[in-house]
């Protein structure tokens, strides 16, 4: 099914493109603790790539490596065909990799609209002076980007809370606002850290629909971490399975589901 450079076609007929990001032999340590041990995998354009694994498997660490919050001791990150030097998180963001957080990192005191607008920072280029006097480029940019942001807000169905300070919103909506902010950046890769964590069934269904719609509508490449096996199997095109910092499986949901190592990791193994 996999072709080295060309990509592949999914069961439902979506075209998956070439490799856009590749992790090569990543090792990450915190002192003596090895969080990630020699893991390699790739992400292709337009696909939904999941990273799963039990608690403490190193999934979030992996996401933090991709988004620049951690720099691995060994290994290389290749992005768009070039090796990426060690970077600060804001530099990674400026390269077009947007993310959400497991325990939501929104600007609580700002309105939903303002929060989503911060996602547009990469697209706004007017200089400080122009902004200070709010003429010419700065004013024009503000209007243009506002239009785009309104589209995203409509798309994620959060119009009714546009002017509400985020701090007042319930958990499920906050998750959605965070997704909106990440989407506003028009990312090449969207990283979702447990987008359904702590949600009830209905909210999970909504979120799943949004993830699929985002991928469908904008063709966004999505890397997501999830706990809920059911959700992952329905959503993703390919799955990486981690356990104790090691990769124990990689492939389509069906392949992974039938992988003995994965079954052992999730259900436990009898010791005899």
């Amino acid at each position: 099914m996999l072709d080295a450079s060309e990509g592949y076609t999914t069961e439902d007929g979506r075209k998956i493109g070439a490799v856009v990001m590749e992790m090569k032999n990543i090792t990450l340590r915190f002192g003596g603790v090895v969080a990630i041990q020699d893991i390699s995998f790739d992400v292709r354009e337009g696909e939904i790539r999941a990273i799963i694994g039990p608690n403490g498997a190193g999934k979030s660490s992996m996401l933090n490596v991709i988004s620049g919050f951690y720099n691995p001791q060994e290994g290389e990150v290749w992005y768009k065909g070039a090796k990426r030097p060690p970077m600060k998180p804001y530099q990674v963001a400026q390269q077009g990799i947007a993310r959400t957080f497991q325990n939501i990192a929104l600007f609580e005191g700002m309105t939903v609209l303002d929060n989503v607008m911060t996602g547009r920072i990469r697209q706004m280029k007017a200089g400080l002076i122009s902004q200070a006097i709010w003429k010419g480029k700065a004013e024009r940019e503000e209007t243009e980007n506002r239009e785009f942001v309104e589209k995203i807000i409509d798309f994620l169905e959060i119009q009714h809370i546009r002017k509400t300070p985020v701090g007042r919103l319930p958990y499920g909506l906050k998750k959605r606002v965070e997704l909106a902010r990440a989407l506003a950046a028009e990312p090449s890769i969207l990283l979702l850290d447990e987008p359904m964590a702590g949600m009830n069934v209905e909210e999970k269904e909504d979120m799943s629909r949004f993830v699929l719609d985002v991928n469908d509508e904008f063709g966004t490449t999505i890397v997501l971490i999830e706990h809920d096996m059911g959700v992952v199997m329905d959503l993703s095109d390919r799955v990486v399975v981690m356990d104790y910092g090691k990769k124990i499986g990689d492939g389509s949901p069906d392949e992974v589901r039938n992988n003995q190592a994965v079954i052992d990791a999730y259900l436990g193994v009898a010791h005899d």
Binding site: F69, K88, A93, L106, F107, E108, M117, Q131, A132, E141
Partner: protein
């Protein structure tokens, strides 16, 4: 109209003008507080430093003259040139931006994610350092600052009020200019903070460092920008107060007057700083005018603090501050 009422009106007007100057200092506090969560004790000293630097540059003073002369046995004090006010103001702004950068690199970069009280202590240290540094750099004598702002009684107001009330109001031209400049400054700052990329980034950084990084905001850049803005506000305040009462050490003490203003207006609100400043300005002048003699005068020294104390009891978040709700 009875005399008392007319005098009262004049007092209120003067109070409003004084209030604007208080608000100007308070604004510097609010800006830094909103953008970085730091209560900047050094704001008053920054105004003093800006004033000293401005005078020094205008008069062509040699910086560190005492130090150089003591070390090398020379007798140099002046370069012997005078720089026009506008150019000197721009140069001072460059110095203030440089200062912002140094403050960030040397101090605050290393204190990311520390408790607010530690950051506060750092600004106290900064205040004392800057005070001494300003002295060494430009000398400790009282300096006269004249950047060409109009000063003295406004004759038009004097005449107009004389025609109406038979009593001419005394309003200083400088106060009028200060009011206009402060209003323009506040308007610009509000628009900047609310409707521009960098303003939004500034608020974002104050709210959540990690989230700010994840959308591509460089914390260092924003902090330097915020301290530069505070430096700019300090410069404006330094010019106004310096022109009014000379550039001298007591300039740094006006920062203390900003504290009650902030308690009244709320630490997080730009409009709050303005309204708080006006209330204190008018309040203390009016109080002195009505009860001053009865209480032995000089009530202006303490009135603001007592008013702030009353506010603390009944409305701790100030008039416009965000209400703090603790979830249990």
């Amino acid at each position: 109209m009875p005399e008392q009422v007319i005098w009262g009106m004049e007092v209120v007007l003067n109070g409003l003008m004084a209030g604007v100057l208080y608000a100007l200092v308070a604004l510097g506090f609010v800006l830094i507080y909103k953008a970085s969560g730091i209560f900047n004790y050094a704001q008053g000293v920054m105004a003093l430093f800006a004033g000293l630097t401005l005078v020094g540059i205008m008069e062509g003073q040699v910086p560190f003259a005492h130090l150089i002369n003591a070390a090398l046995g020379t007798e140099i004090h002046h370069f012997g040139w005078h720089i026009p006010a506008l150019a000197a103001i721009l140069l001072t702004m460059v110095v203030m931006i440089g200062l912002a950068w140094i403050v960030n690199v040397v101090i605050f970069k290393h204190l990311v994610n520390q408790e607010p009280i530690i950051l506060f202590m750092a600004t106290i240290g900064l205040a004392y350092f800057l005070e001494g540094f300003g002295d060494i750099m430009w000398g400790a004598d009282i300096k006269k600052l004249d950047v060409g702002l109009p000063q003295g009684i406004n004759l038009w107001i004097d005449e107009t009020t004389y025609n109406i009330f038979d009593y001419g109001f005394f309003i200083d031209n400088l106060d009028i200019v200060a009011t206009v400049i402060a209003a323009a400054l506040v308007f610009t700052l509000i628009v900047f903070a609310q409707y521009t990329k960098q303003g939004r980034a500034m608020r974002a950084v104050a709210d959540d460092h990690q989230a700010a990084l994840s959308v591509g905001i460089s914390l260092n850049f924003i902090w330097v920008m915020v301290w530069s803005l505070a430096g700019f506000v300090a410069l404006v305040a330094g010019i106004m107060w310096g022109t009014k009462s000379g550039v001298q050490f007591s300039l740094s003490l006006i920062a203390l007057k900003a504290l009650p203003v902030l308690m009244l207006g709320g630490f997080t609100s730009i409009p709050g700083a303005i309204v708080g400043g006006l209330i204190i300005g008018v309040g203390e002048k009016l109080f002195e005018f009505s009860f001053g003699q009865m209480m032995g005068g000089a009530t202006e020294n303490w009135f603001a603090y007592v008013l702030a104390l009353i506010f603390l009891v009944f409305r701790p978040q100030g008039l416009f501050g965000e209400k703090i709700i603790e979830r249990v």
